[in-house]
Symmetry: C2
Subunit: 458 residues, 2 copies
């Protein structure tokens, strides 16, 4: 039995390891186009600044390590096509410059996602980068070492752009951030965007929102960014306007693509082709809150999907299920932690919910305990049923509050459940009642008043 | 309509404020024996050491503040008896030295709990203290100021004893801790106790487990502690061997006491007497995991109960319910955070469960991210159903992991739910897969092997 896995970042390597554990006899080969497998892509911004000092720390396992486990990982190998009928692959060995045919009994597609590169004139100038792979980080760091840029421009105010801004600032560069929409961190409500923009300004990042880049200028090397009728001098540009799933290989082989543009899979991570599973940033999953198809390319989710795909590919049965995602995420920008789970008010409205929300800004521990800092929390619930739909947090202990809310969403809890929930309290770790309980209690009052309002007009 | 509340720490004052909010017309009086209401008892250890510098920070609201809200708070007033038939109280004004009669329409009993003082000879010597009220802290601090003790002995290795040990050490005292059982932190499994004892030793605390104190020695002032045939020199003793509910007032008035020794209430916090509610450290509630009666005296739970009792006392109806507790708790000892929720393995066994557990020690963030520290986590599940029964954590981010597990318990989740749960990941905030997910995945393997074992022997 031969298992081939296309792509070896998070989902692919997880699937390989899982399959090996379940089936010691199976032949397992992973093809990976980049020169290293098993990269922590989420760590790349911190590598730029030197917060993460050693490059090898970002490579969880080398091909040699996989080989010890009898998993063949072939890097710098690009799979060019898949024939799902004859179960054959055409593979290009980039270093040897030759192409060969391989066969599989079972296949896992884990081709990931790539940075979207908007067609901006000058995007091919030296000094204009994206940051998706370790090789991108290597190129940026070589450029920084050789050209010592003093002014950096980040295009895109999503979490990658924000993390990059922090890390370039910590290298002493003067940073500007350009975002096409009217605020950064668009996956969040405006209260969170405001806090993120405050944090950026507090660290001297110049923010330009509602601006589209017209052109990168310079001769050979980038020297400026033109937008909104002005030109900003710059020595380095990092474009982080989004990513898109790598689905062409699967699509061209006849595997069905979902409505989000990512590969369609069932709960067992099976594609529409026989004996082909898919996992990670290239697949579509379900948003458990809205019940709608969703594409949520994140490292932790990719690992979980990889485990399911690897298990089922090893057994050949529908052994495990991946239920879907909540779209939980967190990022750090300077000293501010910003997290979310479930639907934003906007996403909830788009999914057809009428919502009620409660926001508060309170302390992360007993107000009298040293180091107490503020945290913002917003809970969003379904007005019809009271069920929690989403949460957003910004500030100290955001990661904890979001994980609590994610667990509540996972358990389909409603606001009254959260009013009396028994969370851990001690002065160094929280206020007497968790911000989650406080926000749920505010919601309780809002629902009471809404009901009284109804009664009064009856 | 006159509402009287007996006891004004957490549950009592919360009930008063809540009733006032719901009913602007109600007459509300709170009787409180101690000189201040609305004290943060959980903050007292940190006040001893000066970590919390200002005494007034521990008093959330003064009687004057309550008066602004038209709530009469009478401190240094002890309610001596309640007649639940005639709805009359006998109250002793400690400062005036006189006794008077009061009446109520509705009553909330929030008499709290008191330190257990074991009958040890010499316990009345100067320098032997308990730490329960702000007045206790005042007495200890006066003693410390006047007598400059160099050696302190803490009797009792529960969370109060452990917090006190940390805070006295930080004052430069040489600290010894004596625990009657064979390990500290008995509410936890032995792995956590070991870690706590390591942390104590790392901060030069002398630990004596399995030792009962025979006598405190000294003339007038404490000079030594005798146990196990030896005598330890000491200048200060703090006894923290446990607390017990203050139920005599309720019990003598004919209010029924539950099997745990605390006041019996229904889900609406109603006692067995008409128009009498009770809340806080004096009442019995339900352990939601075992379904058994439980007495869990904690500040956050007291607040939640107080809200329910105050609401129902204000409306006179069964407006709100308090569902019960998970026994979630957390404490800090030096640099170690230690938390739990649900049942320990021992408590689960006592409740009739056969359990399976998974433990791990892993990093609190991406291993390559600076500052990564270890955290221990144990999940305990029902072997029959896979349902989560409890969790324990020790180390960095314990508070987050325990809150996630508490929410999972609240939602009655099982280990397979936790394998794929969508928690927040970013390198500064966690490893790619949360320790909760990792532990659930280990459990998944254990269940698989248990099933295969069954199959193999069939």
């Amino acid at each position: 039995m031969r298992l081939v896995i296309v792509g070896g970042v998070a989902a692919g390597t997880k699937a390989a390891s899982r399959a090996r554990r379940l089936d010691p006899e199976m032949e397992i080969t992973v093809y990976q186009e980049e020169p290293e497998p098993s990269i922590s892509e989420c760590g790349l911004p911190y590598f730029l600044s030197g917060i993460v000092e050693e490059r090898e720390r970002l490579v969880a396992r080398t091909p040699e390590k996989f080989a010890q486990n009898d998993i063949e990982v072939l890097v710098r190998h690009r799979v060019e096509s898949i024939n799902v009928h004859s179960k054959k692959l055409i593979v290009h060995d980039l270093d040897a410059g030759k192409t060969f045919e391989d066969t599989y009994d079972r296949l896992v597609v884990a081709t990931g996602a790539r940075a979207v590169l908007p067609p901006i004139p000058g995007a091919n100038l030296e000094g204009v980068f994206e940051l998706r792979f370790l090789t991108d980080a290597d190129r940026i760091m070589t450029y920084v070492r050789e050209r010592a840029p003093r002014r950096a421009t980040i295009v895109g105010g999503g979490y990658i752009g924000l993390e990059v801004a922090e890390n370039l600032c910590s290298l002493g560069m003067e940073c500007s951030l350009i975002e096409g929409e009217d605020r950064v961190a668009l996956a969040y409500g405006p209260e969170v965007s405001e806090r993120v923009e405050e944090e950026l300004r507090a660290h001297s990042v110049n923010i330009f929102t509602g601006e589209k880049v017209d052109e990168f200028t310079g001769e050979g090397r980038v020297r400026g960014v033109k937008f909104g009728g002005k030109e900003l001098e710059t020595d380095l540009v990092i474009v982080g306007v989004g990513i898109e799933p790598n689905v062409e290989l699967a699509s061209e082989s006849g595997v069905e693509i979902g409505t989000t543009g990512a590969i369609l899979v069932d709960k067992h991570m099976k594609t529409t082709a026989p004996d082909v599973w898919a996992a990670g940033d290239c697949v579509e999953t379900m948003d458990l809150t809205s019940g709608e198809p969703a594409w949520v390319p994140l490292g932790d989710t990719a690992n979980q999907m990889g485990r399911v795909a690897g298990t089922n590919a090893a057994t050949g049965e529908d052994t495990l299920e991946f239920p879907g995602t909540l779209g939980t995420g967190i990022f750090k920008v300077f000293d501010l932690g910003v997290g979310k789970t479930g639907l934003s008010e906007q996403a909830a409205a788009e999914a057809g919910f009428e919502t009620l929300s409660a926001s508060l800004s309170t302390y992360d521990r007993a107000a009298y305990y040293p180091g107490a800092e503020k945290v913002f929390l917003k809970l969003i619930v379904d007005r019809a049923t009271g069920r929690l739909l989403g949460a957003e947090a910004a500030g100290s202990s955001s990661d904890k509050l979001i994980d609590v809310c994610a667990t509540a969403l996972w358990g389909r809890l409603s606001y009254p459940d959260l009013v009396n929930i028994d969370l851990a309290y001690s002065p160094p770790y929280g206020p007497t009642l968790s911000p989650v309980i406080q926000a749920a209690t505010i919601l309780s009052g809002k629902f009471d008043r809404a009901r009284e309002g109804v009664r009064a007009t009856e």
